[in-house]
Amino acid sequence: MIRIIKDTPGHLLIEIEASEANLDNSDLFKTQVTELLDRHNKNIVIDFNRVEYIDSSFLGALVAILKYAMAHKLEVILTAMRKDVHDLLMLIRLDKVFKIYGDYEQAAAAL
């Protein structure tokens, strides 16, 4: 479901490997990312470049992960979203609570 792309002293860069981020994989995604937060205790940058489609179940998992990270004083940053995915996050105002950047370099610079 996810792949670690980069492991730096301050953060992990992970990529969502699925093109469809939905009910079928949202629970697994939440489990895997929270395990990474527990194991590494680092901020996480999530690369969405492969995700073509996202649903409310997966958005719920993202928010659950954000809450979990914040409780541990960590950040979750989203990058490389396609326009439709980004537009959906904006529709339900998740752009107000997540830091979203166009690419990893911008996200890393902000950390």
Binding site: E20, Y53, K67, L88, K96
Partner: protein, 186 residues
């Protein structure tokens, strides 16, 4: 999931096209069904409408209705009716079983039924006749971003309510049909 569709003859007088898609819940992905529906909408949109925006909104509404069917449907079969008219798209999901608990309030004297409330949105339903409610959503003031832990993690109804110009639910006691109807106007 099995997909069947039934094309209904368009009325030249009304200039509308309707197609009914039947889903038999199984283990197939939604994307092929979604593509068929979006192709139908795209093929029947009249010229000079904001097609990209309408298709985006149709896509997220259909996605959430189908996801809801997989998560909550009481019946194995879910019907999706898609109608493209001259100035609107109407998408209706029908399944059969127990009504939403909202219906108990819909038939009372309350003006507004609260559903969820957090720092991003207040979601509510407004009674509109027997066994019918219309969903509404207001954006919150974002004055307390420290309360992120209170954000509701269920976005399906909010997505449809915000994407559609009107989103309503009706329960028919005789047929036990639950109907969710989203309308996009243009």
């Amino acid at each position: 999931m099995e997909i069947t569709s039934k094309r209904q003859r368009p009325s030249k007088k009304l200039k509308l096209m309707t197609r009914q898609f039947e889903f038999i819940t199984g283990n197939d992905k939604l994307t092929s069904a979604l593509k068929q529906m979006l192709d139908f909408i795209n093929d029947n949109l009249v010229a000079n409408v904001p097609a990209i925006n309408l298709l985006f909104k149709s896509k997220i509404i259909l996605t959430e209705l189908l996801t809801n069917a997989l998560k909550h449907s009481f019946s194995r079969s879910t019907l999706i009716d898609v109608t493209v008219e001259k100035n609107c798209i109407v998408i209706t999901k029908t399944d059969y079983g127990m009504p939403l608990s909202l219906i108990a309030y819909a038939n009372s004297s309350v003006n507004k039924i609260p559903i969820t409330n957090d720092i991003l949105h207040t979601l509510y339903a407004i009674p509109e006749g027997k066994n019918t409610v219309r969903f509404g959503c207001e954006e919150s003031t974002l004055d307390d971003l420290e309360s992120i832990e209170r954000i509701v993690e269920h976005f399906g109804l909010i997505i449809i309510t915000k994407a559609a110009d009107k989103f309503a639910y009706n329960y028919c006691e005789e047929t036990k049909a639950n109907k969710f109807t989203a309308t996009l106007s243009f």
